[in-house]
């Protein structure tokens, strides 16, 4: 019991990491696209939990709203739209399998070793240090807003234009051609 109390944050981290990684593996391994999409959803929710553990409460909310809400619905909608019943009977993997699996495992091994070597044992800063703006202690969302709308206003505007362009592009791509209209 004492162990549970003393290491509660670590245990929660391990649980959330397991959920995210199981979801990520499911995306690669599950045959049915719908199953892969739901597994991706589990992964997104696990990552949202990890954000909360790292004092990123605002980002966790955005992650749940945008990814788990918006992007997932988009994916599932397209999977339903494209006939899955026919699609999943086809070959699901590109042959040969070995190079892809080897590249994935080597990437993981190299980067993980590098990370442990470079960062091993370092703990994070105090949570208060994150949200102090001009000497005043703010909530996470408020502190992010200060940075976003003061220091990073230009990237914010640029990215909003990019979103508009993507929206127009998606509408143009998705629209059916009318009779007699040239592509």
């Amino acid at each position: 019991m004492d162990f549970l109390v003393a290491h509660f944050a670590q245990l929660v981290f391990v649980f959330l990491a397991a959920v995210s990684l199981a979801g990520a593996l499911g995306v690669v391994l599950l045959r049915q696209p719908v199953h892969a999409a739901l597994s991706l959803l589990a992964s997104f929710l696990g990552v949202a939990g990890l954000f909360v553990l790292a004092h990123g409460e605002f980002l966790a909310a955005v992650q749940v709203l945008v990814y788990a809400g918006g992007v997932m619905v988009l994916f599932l909608f397209v999977i339903m739209f494209v006939n899955v019943r026919a699609a999943h009977k086809e070959q699901q993997y590109l042959r040969p399998l070995v190079p892809g699996a080897v590249v994935g495992s080597l990437l993981f091994a190299a980067l993980a070793l590098g990370a442990v070597w470079a960062l091993g044992g370092r703990a994070g800063a105090q949570p208060g240090a994150l949200t102090a703006v001009e000497g005043e202690q703010l909530g996470n969302t408020e502190a992010v807003a200060w940075l976003l709308y003061r220091d990073y206003l230009l990237p914010f505007e640029v990215v909003s234009v990019l979103l508009l362009v993507a929206m127009v592009g998606a509408i143009v791509l998705g629209a059916k051609k009318r009779e007699g209209e040239r592509a």
Partner: protein, 100 residues
Amino acid sequence: MIPTHWYFVVSVAMLACGVAGLLLRRNFITVLMSVELILNAANLNFVAFARQLGDLTGQVFPVFVITIAAAEAAIGLGIIVQLARLKATVALDSVKEMRG
């Protein structure tokens, strides 16, 4: 206190899953999902280093990354819908017309 390299190892594992999915999957939709995994791994890194360095900038950039991921998903899925109309399949190796 959770050490920063735990976050990094989780993020790297997620990146590796994404890259493996990108290389292995034949279904266009699951390849797009793998790209989302890679972007999520990057976000996890941003947040972990924001915590490590006590600098909130690392929590601002994931907002941009999430926006770009959403835009990319919208465009990619639009292309998939058109591909499904044109060829009645979403298999990547069925698209060979632009290969040199």
